[in-house]
Symmetry: C2
Subunit: 282 residues, 2 copies
């Protein structure tokens, strides 16, 4: 539990994320750690591509300037592989949280090998096979969004099904972008409910189907943002579609989950777990 | 520099990523740290949503089983906020790299406040405004992919331009997904080069334009994967289009970067830096 809140400005801190690469991972990590300090306020500054001692000197100057301006030392999350660059940055006045050396050193000891200390390796793979497969998966997921292109579904790793606006599209794109998974998505629509059957195009791919569902109340909100006051967005219609979609998925033994309170990351992680694809992409 | 390679199997280690949330950030982080050990081989296992002591006991058993099977203790990256769950997992035999407490504790001391120790906060925001803006941005970027929908460009945060297959689409989607940035993209095509002018639809939005270019040789490779042996994919055509696109962008004073050796993350980070949008989304 947080302690009672003191004067708010005493908690305003500048947070730097300093990286020799994009700093995206470090930044996401910093956000998730700092989210634990609910009463504090932070100003985030990401400084990517710090790959020379000159740039390191600029970074140190910015950290010191923030210290002077705030009257409190900034919190600095850093992932700097090169020790000369790292040392230069650390001459500034800040609380340094060094993601790289904090963890590389114990692993070096454990494995009894030295790390390569090469800069920017994590994303530096624009022409690798793994990277190409991500791009291919993005193209696949785009081409197979919203059931628009049924040909090629045999190449899909997973086919998401569910009512319109239940979260299929962002999940498909995230699975492709993050994991290189070819994720198609096909809507379940009133036509299908009237026929009482899945769209015929996906029947040959039953083993790849995974369902998404959503609370009707939440679905009505989402649809109202898109088409306010339409029949499509009415609570009555949403209730009908969700009930019918769940009935259909239950009858067809399609695994499904509810997206109502889940983020794209949580939905994607759960889909991967349930379809057993998780280990495939590492 | 890595030391001379010993017997390969002595380096095969099981790596667990254990999280009370999705574990995606921890996993990306683990990959980037372990990429520094080029001669080592790792088997990654992500165990997400570990939010009870019972699940923690299962995790500990899996770690111990891997220890027995490998004959070496696994490396465990963990982000477990709850100390009871964390303590239970750490009863297993592994090298524990605790992303959470390693950094939360020094921040608690620095700020002189306790962290809230609440589980899964980082992605637990499916219904927040920030999360909604990500979903909106994804829908926007999809609707404005490849110049297919010109209406609404005034709402774009950035409009990427460049020849077909230079990386506009994955970059637009990544900017939307990661940062909630509304990124449209519009191709520059031979028609534009013959007229010697930008597509008229984007002229009113000149300040939002950002160019992507690519080496003709790389472009020919990418296009050949899509349409093998076509005129579209020929090196001659790629050289012509890239030269003309760069000429046009230079004449129109459009900022641009080359995507040839860059990952989506690196392109997106650089675009954000150059258009000065970086600070906007934190």
């Amino acid at each position: 539990m947080p302690q009672s809140a003191p004067a708010a400005n005493s908690y305003l801190r500048t947070v730097f994320v300093v990286s020799d690469g994009t700093g995206i991972t470090a930044e996401t990590f910093a956000h998730s750690v700092l989210a634990q300090f609910e009463n504090a306020r932070f100003r985030h500054i990401r400084l990517p591509f710090i790959d020379s001692v000159d740039k390191a000197a600029d970074v140190a100057a910015r950290i010191d300037a923030a210290f002077t301006a705030d009257g409190q030392r900034p919190i600095v999350f850093s992932t700097l592989v090169n020790s000369e660059i790292n040392t230069r940055v650390r001459q500034a006045n800040g609380l340094f949280l060094d993601l790289f050396s904090t963890f590389v050193e114990p692993i070096e000891q454990e494995l009894n090998i030295k790390s390569s200390h090469s800069i920017g390796r994590s994303h530096n793979m624009a022409n690798t096979k793994q990277y190409q497969s991500r791009i291919e998966a993005i193209n696949f997921s785009l081409a197979h969004d919203d059931g628009q292109f049924i040909k090629g579904l045999e190449q899909a790793d997973v086919i998401l099904v569910g009512v319109s606006r239940c979260g299929k599209t962002p999940t498909s794109l995230y699975l492709a972008m993050q994991y290189g998974i070819k994720a198609a998505n096909v809507p379940l629509i009133p036509d299908d409910f009237e026929r009482g059957a899945l769209p015929s195009a996906i029947l040959p791919h039953r083993a790849k189907l995974f369902g998404l569902t959503i609370q009707p109340e939440r679905l009505a909100e989402v649809r109202n943002e898109r088409r306010p006051d339409s029949r499509y967005a009415s609570l009555e219609q949403c209730r009908y579609e969700v009930a019918e979609a769940e009935k259909l998925m239950r009858r067809e033994s399609i695994r499904w989950l509810s997206t109502t309170t889940k983020s794209i990351e949580e939905i994607s992680t759960t889909v991967l777990q349930k379809i057993g694809l998780e280990g495939r992409f590492y």
